[in-house]
C-alpha cells in the first residue's frame, strides 16, 4: 500500500492489541513509526533553516497554515542518509499540539504488528541508539527498527 500525500489520521486498527506502523527508510535502515500520532506524509518540502537551533532540527515549514518543525532524523540517529534534506520526505506527527516533520528518505507501507512481533533492542547496540528505539521487528529480508519518536523529540 503506497501512501504518499496522504493526509489525515490513520484509523487505529480494530484490534486494540495490534498497532499500525508506517515504514520508512533512512540510508540502509528501515524504521517503523507508530501511526497513532501521524497526521500527514509529505513529499519533499522547502524547509527554512533556523540559526542557533540544535542540528537535529532541520528547520520549519508551513503546512496549510500550521507551523511544523522539521526533524533531521538521520542526524539524530547519526546515520548517513542517501539524499539531501531538501529531497527527503516527511512523516508529520503531532505531539502536544505541536507538529513535527520527521525527515526520512522514503516511506513505503503501513504494517500491523502485535506486541509479540517486536523483540527487545539487543544489548550490544549503543545506548544512544537504544534510547531512540522501542524494539526490533525481524522480517525475512531485513530488520525493522521501531522508532521511539518521543525520544527523538526529547530535548
Amino acid at each position: 500500500m503506497q501512501t504518499t500525500q496522504h493526509s489525515g489520521l490513520y484509523k487505529p486498527h480494530t484490534n486494540p492489541t495490534l498497532t499500525q506502523y508506517i515504514t520508512a527508510t533512512i540510508g540502509k535502515y528501515t524504521f517503523a513509526i507508530e501511526t497513532s500520532n501521524v497526521v500527514d506524509v509529505l513529499s519533499p518540502q522547502v524547509i527554512v533553516h533556523i540559526p542557533l537551533v540544535p542540528p537535529k532540527i532541520a528547520g520549519t515549514l508551513n503546512i496549510r497554515g500550521r507551523i511544523v518543525t522539521a526533524i533531521n532524523v538521520s542526524h539524530a540517529l547519526d546515520i548517513k542518509s542517501n539524499i539531501s534534506i531538501d529531497k527527503q520526505m516527511g512523516v508529520v506527527i503531532e505531539m502536544k499540539d505541536y507538529l513535527y516533520n520527521l525527515l526520512v528518505d522514503n516511506t513505503s507501507e503501513v504494517i500491523t504488528l502485535a506486541p509479540s512481533d517486536i523483540s527487545e533492542t539487543p544489548d550490544n547496540i549503543d545506548q544512544s541508539w537504544k534510547e531512540l528505539l522501542k524494539g526490533v521487528h525481524k522480517r525475512d529480508t531485513d530488520l525493522l527498527l521501531i522508532l521511539n519518536h518521543d525520544m527523538i523529540l526529547a530535548v
Binding site: 527554512v48 533553516h49 533556523i50 540559526p51 542557533l52 537551533v53 540544535p54 532540527i57 520549519t60 515549514l61 508551513n62 497554515g65 507551523i67 518543525t69 526533524i71 502536544k96 505541536y98 513535527y100 523529540l153 530535548v155
Partner: protein, 893 residues
Amino acid sequence: MDELLNTFITEANEGISVLDSDIVLLEKNPEDSKLLGNIFRVMHTLKGTCGFLGLPRLESIAHASESVLGLIREGEMSINENVISLILKSIDIIKDIVAYVEENSTEPEGEDSVLIGQLEDLVNGISTSSNNEEEIELVEEMKEGVEVKTKKVKKSTKTSKESKEKSTKKSQSSKNTENKEKAKSNNEKQLSPSITNGENTDYAPTTSGPTKTNQTIRVNVEVLEDLMQMVSELVLTRNQLLQMIRSIENTPFHAPFQRLNHITSELQETVMKARMQPVYTAWVAFPRITRDLSVELNKKIDLKMSGEDTELDKQLLECIKDPLTHMVRNAIDHGIESPEERVKNGKPKTGTIHLNAYHQGGHIIIEISDDGKGISGDFIAKKALEKELVTPTELAQMNDSQIINLIFLPGFSTAEKVTNISGRGVGMDVVKTNIEKISGTIELFSTYGKGSKFLIKIPLTLAIMPVLTVSVDTHVFAIPQVNVVEMIKINPHKKEQTYQVEYIHGHPVVRLREQLLPLIYLSEILNINNHDSEDKKVLHVVICEVGGYVFGIIVDKIHDTEEIVVKPVSPIMKDVTAYSGITILGDGSVIMILDIGVLLKHIHNIARQSTQDYSLTYDTIENSVKIPLLLFTSISGASCAVPLELVSRLEELDLSKIEYASGEPVLQYRDRLIRICTLSDDEELPTEGQHNFLVFTNRDKVLGIGVKHINDIVKHEVNIRKINDNNGFLGSIVINNKVHDIIDVNSYFIQTFELFEEELRRHDLVIENKNVMFIDDSPLFREFIPPVIENDGYNVEIMNNALEALDYLAKDNNYQNISAIVTDINMPEMDGYEFINICQNREEYKNIPIVVLSSQAETKNKANKIIQPDLLAGYVLKTNHNELLEILHDNIV
C-alpha cells in the same frame, strides 16, 4: 451612565431575580443550607457593592437583611413566615431602588427606618410577633406584594418590548408608552403603600425603557477568545491573498477581494471591540484600597484618575490588574510619606497618587505616579549589592536610571520591614514578569524626595502583534515593533554620511545625536555566515530599546512592518532563547520572532549604556564637575584621553637610547630609569628618533607610555561610558564629537611593574585586611585612586559622598574596621571640611587618621586655616599617589 453603575445594575438585577425565587423556595425547605448560603451570598455581595458605589440606602437595607440571614445561617434563628416576609419586603424595596438608580443614576430620596428597625428587632431577638396584628397585615401585604411584583415583572418585560418597538417609530407613541407606564406605576404605588409603611415613596418604580439586562448578553470569554483567534487567522489569510492579488493586474478578483478586505478589517475591529473594556475595570478597587490603607497607615492620600475610559483588551486587563494593585499598594505603603514628614519636607499634607492611561502609537500607556519620597538610587545600589544581585563592577557601569530599575530584579524588596500591605520581596519582579508576559514594558522614573513614576506600556491586543521584518543573508526575522525606536542606514560609499560605525576595542558603536550606542551584528549573534565584506556594505541598523537600554542591531535588509499572530516556539527548541515566538507571514513563509531582551543580554558583556538622560539628582552634580583631560593619539591612531592631573610630565625621548633591563625596555632619564610601554601589545615603537611619551610616576617607579601625538588639553565633564573591563581602558567619552578612550594608568603600572607589585605585597603583609575609606564625588577618581591604594594591599571602602560615608561609619559599628579615611574636599552637599569636623568631634571617630586629597594645591593653605593641621594625617594632591601611600603606611602600620 457610569460603567460601574451599569455593571452593578446588571448584576443586581440578576441577583435579585434569583433571590425572589430562592427565598420562596427556602420557606418551603428551611433546612436547605446550600440555598440559604446562596441567598446570603447574593445579599452580601449586594451590600458590598452598594457600599462601594455610595448607595447608602440600598446598603443599609441589604445590611439589615444580611444580618437576619446570617443568624438563620448560623442556626440561631428559625425560619418562619414573618422572617421570610420581612426579607422579601426588603428585596422588593431593593428592587425598586435599583430600578430608580438605573434610570437616574442616584438613589431615590427617602429612608427605610421602619423596615430596617423590624429587621434589627429580629436580630436583637425581639419578637415582632408581639404585634400580631401588624405581622398578619404585613404578611398579607407581602403576599400581595409578591403578586404585584410578579405581575410587574411580566408587565415590564412587555412594556420594554413595546417601548423598544415604538421607540423605533415615532416619538409621540413612545410618549404614550411613558404615560401608560406612569399610570401603571401609580397603580403599583397605590397597591403597595404599606410596604414602606407610608414612608416617603416619592419615586416611581421604573419600568420604562429596556432594562440593562436586555442590552447585554454574557458570553463566555473562551468563545470570544476562539473568535479572536479565528479572526486573527482570517486577517493573515487576507494578508496572504492581498500579496498575491497585488501581483496580478486586471483580475476579476479585485473587486470582491476589496470587499473581503474591508469586511475582514471591520470584523477584526468589532471582535476586538467586543473584548475591550475600559481600563477603569482594573482600577475599580483602587479608591477603596487607597482609603483603607491610608486609614490603616495614618496617611493622607488623594487618588486621582485620568483616562480611565481608555479601552483595553479584556485579557490584558486581567493580566495587569494584579501588577497594578501591587504598585498602587506600594505607592501607598512606601511611596507616600506620613503627613508629618510631608509637612517637614515642605509638601502638602495630602499625598497624591495619580493613575493615568492613554493611547500612544498603537500602545496603551498606564502611568502610576506619586509625589512621595521617591527612590534613592544609592539605597537601591546598596541593597542590590547586599543581596548580591549585582557585582560592584556591574554597578559601577550603571547610570542612575538603570540602578533604580534594579528593583525589578527577582529577590529585590526595598521594604525595610515587611508589612502586610506590601513588601514580601516577591513584588516588583513579579510585576515585571507579568507585564512582559503580555509583551509590555515597565519603567521606573524616580527623583529622590520628589516622587516616583511607573510607566507601563502594553499592546492594545495580544492576538495580533506589529513587527518589523528584517533579514540577514537569506534569513528573515521579526522584531516586535514595541522594541523598535528608529532605523538608520549607514552607507560607507557616501562621502558625507551622517552615521558611521566606529570601533572601541573591536566592538562596534555608533554615534546617534550625541549618544554612543553599542551595536551588534545580528549575523554574529545568530552565527550566520555573512560572506560580504562588512566594511563596504551598506548597513541597516535597527535601534531597539529594552527596559531603558538602547542599542542597535545591524542587519542586511529592513523589509516591512507586518501584523502577525504570535505562535509559541515548539518545545524542542526551548533551549534557544533568542526567539520569543514564531509566525507565518503573509507570503506563507515561517519566520522567527527575535527576543530583543535576550539579544540585549549578549550585549551586556560588551557594553552597558542607555540614552537615559542624566537629569536625575546625582548626575546633575556630576555634570558640573569638569576635569582637565589630556587628549592624545595613540601609536595605532586611536583617540585617547587621560586626566591631566595624573600625568607627571610630557617628554620627547630619544628612542635610540632604549636599553633593555631583564628583557624589558627602559630609558635613562635624569638619573632615573623610565620603563617604557605602549598602549597595547600590538603597538610598536619605532627604533630611533624622538618620540612622544606621557610620563607617570607611582612611588619610585616611573612609567613612560609612547604616544603618537599630544593633541589638546580640554576641560570636560566626566560622564564616562563604561565599555568593559578590558585592561588599559576605563571607558570612553565623547569630546568634540569624537569618541575618546580613557586610559587606565594604573593598569599599565600593574602590567609593567608586575614583579614590583608582587614584591610590595610581600613586604607589606601587615597592612593587608586594613580598611581604608575613600570618599570622592567624582566617579573618575573613584575609578583611579582606590586601585592605587588597593595595590598597596589595603581594602578600600568607596563612598560617593560624605553623607554616605557618615552613614557607613555609623552603621553596625563599621568605624571600628576603618583604619584610615581618604577624603576629597570639594564635594556637593557636605564638603570635606565639614566631614572632617564631624569626625573630629565624635569620640569614636576621632582616632581614625584622615588624609585630605585635593586636586587644587592652593587649597592646602585654606585647609590648614580651617582645620587644625595637626588633626590631619596629611594633605595630598590627587596626583601624588606616592605621598598618599606613604602617609597611609605611616599612619596605619
